[in-house]
Symmetry: C2
Subunit: 229 residues, 2 copies
DNA sequence: TCAAAAGTGTTAAAAATACACCCATGG
DNA sequence: CCATGGGTGTATTTTTAACACTTTTGA
């Protein structure tokens, strides 16, 4: 089977940057390539966009097929369109970034039996293609966006403590935050719902658990509220 | 001449949203389509990405060919990849938005002798394809970005008055700003350089002219400064 | 001399920051 | 009983917001 066009066409792919928070450390899911070019190198999960699926759908499908990740926050990042970014032929790639909650996403080995592993964003091996640049841009986007959109919660389990949330912000923004001021600010937004539950299995006073209330957020947004931390 | 591939491929295009400020009104440059589909409808300037040029280059080329616009701020917006966005065949489009200074860009009729015209963003005719959605997203991006990046200056001539700058912000953010507070805030950033020149040909006291100092901005950025208005 | 926009400073309110101790729990 | 992190309030500084009159210029 073959397909013929009047003009040459670029191949279209998607690449996914999957961020996860592991013990307060921001990590990225990478896959070890099993084929040339860059055989053996680590790379972002991704693959070709099929002609009968939207680009968004392709990103979700690749994510599922290569990592088993489903039902997560996924947003388009940027399209990488340099002529020589793939040594084989012209390939344009639409990059997406995903935020997953590592405690319930135990990432499975991918269907192609390639190796998948989490790496700290501060200790990334040499990557295939222009994936280092893509990852850098995704990290930058995450840092920027987390301050004015409540996306940090996507990296946490549904129930979390305020300290855990604070450490998330500290890790991603690479700063120290004052505990009292952080709590004051985030609670004043009235987006977190205190549950009738506390931490368990900790060797100290158990912390209050909270849940992010997406409905409250959407309602506030409608009436001109601006999240900002 | 024809080109054959093992799998079907989407066509790849670029579309450009060109914003300009005309007498304090935010306008967009549209082109009237000369061919089916949507013949006669207004649409965003754009066209096919060639296989030997980067996507960014394609955007600049189309902008030049269709509108004569060169040397302007141009930034990737988003990639639109729904399956049925073009009724003919699968077309994925990478959208870019440009900011031009209308006083020195007298837009020329495009090379294909199609009609080009400026429309107020608040009074847009029915557009071809999903261009209404693309335009909406570009407008949203502009509104968001202008508050924390000094891109508003791209819409003004190199020398401008503070009142003109204020009206730009008022138009794009759709608010009223206080004159004294606006001036205080923007001047305190030390990004505007007062010139030894004032307005001419005005029937009232001539205003001081200023210039945006990009070098100062870059220097401040390096040392952790954050533009925000 | 009039019309039109330029230019300018102070006060009050709100938000951000800095900061330290007692509490509850499990080992 | 001790080590560990949980939880809390106030005072100070900084930032934002509200507000009105005089000046300059050309017509």
């Amino acid at each position: 089977m073959s397909y013929t066009y009047e003009y040459p066409r670029a191949a279209l792919t998607v690449d996914c940057i999957v961020f996860g928070l592991d013990e307060d450390e921001l990590k990225v899911l990478l896959i070890q390539r099993g084929i040339e070019p860059f055989e053996g190198r680590w790379a972002l999960p991704g693959g070709f966009v099929q002609v009968d699926e939207s680009v968004d759908t392709a990103a979700r499908r690749e994510l599922r097929e290569e990592t088993g990740v489903t039902d997560v926050f996924l947003e388009q990042l940027y399209t990488f369109g340099a002529v020589d970014r793939d040594p084989r032929e012209r390939v344009v790639s639409v990059a997406y970034y995903a935020l997953v909650n590592l405690s319930d996403h135990r990432i499975q080995a991918d269907t192609d039996a390639r190796n998948a592993a989490w790496f700290s964003v501060y200790d990334i091996p040499e990557l295939a293609f222009d994936h280092a640049r893509i990852l850098e841009m995704a990290h930058e986007r995450l840092r920027g966006k987390i301050r004015y959109q409540p996306i940090g919660f996507e990296l946490l389990p549904p129930k979390f403590t305020l300290t855990r949330l604070q450490r998330l912000y500290e890790q991603i923004l690479d700063t120290k935050l004052d505990k009292r001021n952080f709590r004051k600010k985030i609670l004043k937004m009235e987006l977190l719902e205190a549950l009738d539950e506390v931490e368990t299995d900790v060797a100290h006073r158990a912390a209050q658990l909270y849940r992010f209330n997406a409905d409250a957020y959407n309602e506030k947004i409608r009436t001109g509220f601006n999240f900002e931390l």
